[in-house]
Structure formats: C-alpha cells, structure tokens
C-alpha cells in the first residue's frame, strides 16, 4: 500500500498548479464566467498542448495511458481554481464513455477530443429520471441501417459548447428496464437537435437538449459487440469513474474552503480578539478539518480502487461510498465556511461563496448523498 506520488505525477501537479495560479485569479475567473462562452478557448488549447486532454486515453488512441490517480491530480488542482473549461465534461465524462467505444468510433472522435478541437458532453438525465441512469424515456428507433432519436435530456453540463453529444436512448423495452438502453455519439449540429442553454449556479454552462427525429447511423453506437441494448453498463461505469474524478475536484474545492476559512478566523477581530480564539469557532473549524481529511481519504480510496478494481461492483461501491462522503463533508465544510466568514461569506465578491456553490452542485451531480446511500445498500445486498 502506497499513498505517495511518483515524480511524473508531482510534475503534472506542478504544471496544473502553475496554470491555475497564472490564469485563474478570482477576477480572471469572474470575467471568464461572465463571457458568452463561459470559458477560454485559448486555455483549452493550452490544456491540449500540455497533454492534459490526452491523460485517460490509451496510447494506441493517441493518449497517455494515464490512471485514475493521474486524472485525480489534474482535476484536484483545477478544482482549487474553480476552473471553468469543460475538462470534467469533455475529457473525464464524455471521454470515459467514448473510450469504451469500438475501434472505428474511437478513431473517429478521440483524435479531435485529445487535440482540443472537439468538445463533448453527456446527455443522460431526463425530466422524470431524477438520478436513475436506467430511467430512460428517450427513444432510438431503427430506420434502415441507422436510428432515429426522439426525447428530451436535461442538465447537460457543457452542452452549449459541445460539438459531440453522448446520448442514452431506449432501443427496446420501456420505463425502467435495465436492458434496452443504448449509447449514441451524436453530432451536436445534427438536424433535429435543439438546445436551451443556461448558466448554472456555480458559474458553468449547461443545456436542456431536445432531440426530434434525429438521424444517426449505426456506427455512432458506443460499445463493442452487442452494444445495442446494453449501454447501461457502459454508462454506469462511466458515471462511477466520473464520480471518482468529482471526488478529486471536491478535494481541491474543500481544501480552499478550509484554508481560506482558517486564515479568515485568524485575522478577523471582534471583541478585541481574533475570532479564532473562541472555542465555539475552534471546534467547528476542527469539524471542518476532519470532514475534509475524511473526504480526501475517500477520494484516494476510490481512485486507487478504480486503478485496482477487478469488478464493476467494486468500482460502484467505491464510487457510491465516496459520493455519500462528499455530500456529508461538502455540506459541513461549505456551510461552515460561509458561517465562519459571517456577513462577508454572504457576498458574491468573496471567493469562498463560489467554492461553496460548486461544492453544493458536486453533491447534486449524479445523485446526492441520499441517493448513493440507497445505492450502496442495494450493492451490499
């Protein structure tokens, strides 16, 4: 058992850290977040040049063959800067699904994605699905050698900028059947795709996507043989890996919340003394510290499990446990950060409120702590 990072990993961390320090001051981020695109194409090109967009892909596909721990390092550091570029949506989540595609599909999409030319997003959630990945009403009906997609997807993170959408749709069965779901890689400019774009509360961009008689050919199906009707397992594995990366981001976000709050209560004076001298606040700060340390331990556990996992159920349990911890810890760390900053914590002009908002959305993404506790129970049965 080893919790240390190797030299390459330390260099990778340094390079992401340097980028965040140089390009992600609070003011820079605020300006980017308010721009029309919501992030910087120049930054994205830099990500590709630095090789970050290549990390999780195998060398045969033009990637670097990185492990979950490598992704963790990048995403944690990006989390410290609340970075807006769609690394998580494109490289981790959409990339994680595309990686599971056949040779032709990977050859078609991965070079662009790794090169920084293609942005991608995953459209899986629906109006009535809540957090259940198998609850899919969107249909994909066979027509000739291809399919026709109809339905509505919501909460598509990084949807507005996506060139490529990964869509879950029902090719057979109905309602909440676990089989009969297929994943498609859909050109976002296809006829019949329309989007309602919006800003999210944490400063990102997302879309609700309507698919109306969208034609795709059979080569857009994600998976190897028998991929049709069997997309759920791919989606579940992709989501579990995405949750593990989200855990890494949460580590970064919580570290900043913890450290800036600690700094603040050392400086802020009331009643003639720093407020950090009050025991009521000290013990709460200790609670924040312990929650952060536990979440970090779980994020490490989950990333290491992903790299070692022998079965999809091991991966699923690790991801579910991590998500429960993130929900719990994130709430304590985020809420106490605001409380201990007092009135200043309520303001939009202080960074801490933005980290709190991101942490709140991390709990929501892919289902909150309650959802994953239920899932953990089901996986344990």
């Amino acid at each position: 058992m080893d919790f240390s990072f190797n030299e390459e990993q330390n260099l990778l961390r340094d390079s992401v850290r340097k980028f965040v320090e140089k390009s992600y001051s609070f003011e820079q981020r605020r300006a980017l977040s308010k721009s029309e695109l919501g992030f910087s194409r120049d930054n994205w090109r830099a990500f590709a040049e630095l090789g970050w967009t290549a990390i999780p892909f195998c060398e045969a596909d033009g990637g670097l063959g990185g492990k979950a721990v490598d992704t963790m390092i990048v995403v944690e550091e990006l989390g410290k800067g609340l970075v807006l570029e769609p690394y998580f949506a494109t490289v981790v989540f959409a990339g994680g699904l595309l990686r599971r595609g056949g040779d032709a599909l990977r050859a078609k999409h991965l070079p662009g994605l790794i090169g920084g030319e293609t942005l991608a997003a995953v459209a899986y959630a629906e109006v009535d699905s809540r957090f259940d990945l198998h609850n899919v009403a969107t249909t994909a009906k066979r027509e000739g050698s291809g399919f026709v997609l109809d339905g509505k997807k919501i909460g598509v993170i990084a949807g507005p900028s996506a060139d490529l959408l990964i869509v879950s749709a029902r090719t057979s069965g109905g309602g909440q059947d676990k089989s009969g779901i297929t994943l498609f890689a859909v050109d976002a400019k296809s006829a019949g795709v329309s989007r309602k774009d919006y800003r999210t509360v944490d400063g990102l961009r997302a879309s609700d996507v309507t698919l109306s008689k969208v034609k795709v050919d059979a080569s857009s199906v994600i998976g190897e043989v028998d991929a049709i009707d069997n997309g759920l397992a791919i989606l579940e594995a992709g989501v579990d890996e995405a949750i593990i990366a989200l855990g890494a981001e949460a580590m970064g976000v919580m570290e900043v919340l913890f450290k800036s709050t600690l700094d603040y209560i050392k400086e802020r004076k009331q009643f003639g003394v720093p407020i950090g001298s009050f025991q009521a606040l000290q013990h709460r700060m200790v609670d924040v510290f312990i929650e952060y340390e536990q979440a970090k331990s779980m994020a490490y556990m989950a990333a290491m499990t992903q790299d070692a996992a022998n079965s999809s159920s091991e991966l699923a349990k690790a991801a579910a446990a991590l998500k429960v911890q993130l929900g719990k810890s994130g709430r304590v760390v985020g809420q106490q950060a605001i409380q201990l900053h007092g009135g200043m914590g309520m303001t939009e002009e202080l960074a801490v409120s933005h980290y709190f908002k991101r942490m709140t959305i991390i709990d929501l993404m892919f289902g909150n702590a309650d959802h994953h506790l239920g899932r953990y129970v089901a996986l344990s049965a």
Binding site: F5, M301, V324
Partner: protein
Amino acid sequence: MDLEFSKEELAFRDEVRAFVDAELPKDIRDAVDQGRPLSKEQHVRWQKILFDKGWAAPNWPVEHGGTGWSRTQMHIFSDELGAAGAPPVIAFGINMVGPVIYTFGSEEQKKRFLPDIVASNVWWCQGYSEPGSGSDLASLSCRAVRDGDHYVVNGIKAWTTLGQHADWIFCLVRTDQNAKKQQGISFLLIDMKSPGVSVHPVITLEGDHEVNETWFEDVRVPADNCIGKENQGWTYAKYLLTHERTSVANIGAIKRTFARVKREATKVKVGDGSLLQNPVFARKVADVEIQITALQFLALRLLSQVDRGGAPGAESSMLKIRGTEIQQSITELTLEAAGYYGLPFVPENGQAIGPEFTARAAANYFNYRKVTIYGGSSEIQKGIITKAILGL
C-alpha cells in the same frame, strides 16, 4: 499510489492470520465476540501466547522485546488481531508505562520493570485522573513528599481501570507544591501491595465493576521508583498520551463487531424479512460501513506519512475522535438490533435471556459512552487539533 499491499506485506499478513487462527483460544474469542468482559486470566493467557511468539510488544524497540516492524506492519498486525476476535491488549503496561520507562527511565529501571511488562508477569494500572482533575489533568493534587530515600504519598486517583487486578500503578503526583501547574509533577511507580494503598470499586451505569478509586494514605514509595527527573513528570505524561492515541483506531476490532451486528441483523425478523432488509436500518448500517471505510483510509494515509518520515502527532487525535464515535454507533446498532432483548439486565458473566448477542447489547451501549471521554475526551482532542494543526 497503489491500493495493494506489497508481496512482503501480504506474506506478513498471512503469517499473522495463520498464527492467530491457530493460537487464539476459543473461550477468549467467544468472550470477545459476545461483547463480554474478559477475566484477568484470559487477558494474561492471550498476552503470554503473543509473548512466546515474540509479538507481545510490537511497538517496542527490539532490544527490549519489540519487533522492529514498520508502522504498516504494526497496522496489519493489529488489524488482523482485531479481525480475528483477539482481545485488545490491556494498554497500561505495554502501550503506556513501558514506553515511558524505556524512553525516560534509568538503566536500572529498564532492567527491573520492562521484562515483566513484556511477559505480562505484572499487571499495571494508571493513576492519572483524580476526583477533582479530569480533563484538566495538570490540576492534580495527589502529593508525594520526600522523606529520606522515600516519598510519602497521599491522595486519591480516580477511574483506575481494572485496578482490582493490578500489581503496580503508575501515578502522576505533585512533588512541588509551589511550582506552577504543569511543573512540580512527577511520574511515580507504586507497588499496589504497599501499606496504605486501597482499591474501592466504582460501579458504572451498566452495572459492571471495571473502574475503581485508588486511595493512598501515607504510602511510602522508594525514591528509586521515580521515572526520569523529579518534577518533570508532565513531559512524560504528554508523551504517553500521544502514544496512547495512536493505538485507539482499532479498525480490525471495529470491523469485526460491525460484521457481527450485520450478521445478527439478518436473523432478526421484521415483517416478512430481516432487520438488515429493513430499509431504514439498512441505511444506518450502510452509513456506518462508509464511515469505517473513511476511518480506515484516513488511518492508512496517516500511517504512510509516518513511514515516509512525517510526524504522527496531533493527527492521531482525528483517529481517536472518529474511531470512538464509530465504536459508539456500532453499540447503538447492536442495541437496536436486540429489540426487546435489550431489556434484561445481564451482569458481566450472566446468562443471556435472549439470543447470545443481545446479552450485553444494552450494557455495552451504556459502557461505550466512556470511549469519547477517556484518553482525552473528544473535546480535548479538538483542543489539541486546534493548537497543533490549525495553529489557532
């Protein structure tokens, strides 16, 4: 970063596992699994089995009977012992006074005391707290006045755990009445058979006799029994408290008690299914299981920092806080699983009225309130983290 144990670590784990499987006596394993207190004889018998193997005091220096294991090995060892249902070592000798003696004691003291500690020939207990000094330990008033080559000790020590079994007690006593609080305290070893020492049982809320008050009335103690320098005892006591906290996570034992409550919950009926299938109870169980995973990885991370040369220090306070909270949660789940069989009062060695696991369910729930109080309460631990880690 790598989740797997190395080949050597795995081999070590298998060796420990095989040893405990073969050597742990059934009556001891059963008592541990049933949550019953062990007799003195049972504790000593198991400790002597470990001693014969050379594993009685893994954390000690090799020259005094230790093993020279890495922190990771020690973790594996305690994990395996706990998971196999071995009783935790009674800390007072091997984990507490032993390390103080080999760190601060004279050569003469080392020769005189350490062999009997590691071999469990002598049972030690702890004389720290007093009726008027709990978390504020340094306010203690038990005094030792020099009289020739002896000290004369007068005072009362509180919460002497298993003092009824003890041959010796290590005490913090005030040797300088005029010095400021922390100064003027000495670390004194006292033979329990000395005239003037008396042990008075204190029955705790569950009805057990686990702790005592120990009274000292004009007890004459040879000055040679003072460890290190006179009036420097507080330094040694602080050292010992850190030592104590690093061994409190008890993850192996936690996992075994947790597995037991899960197993028993499958036998308890609720409606047409089992208690473990009850959605509300199942969620509580899952929640505790996730907490155990977080504790385990927190402990492993801290361990690997220590093995790479970092300091254990105040981080172990985190393990104490979380480990004890989780232990309490498990006793809560067990009592909940017992249902109406939580009602009967079953004394330490009394027969169960219901299923065996229920016999001590309520008693242990009550008794385990102690764990967030002893060894520095959770609030004291938070105070330590506040100062040492947060720098407040």
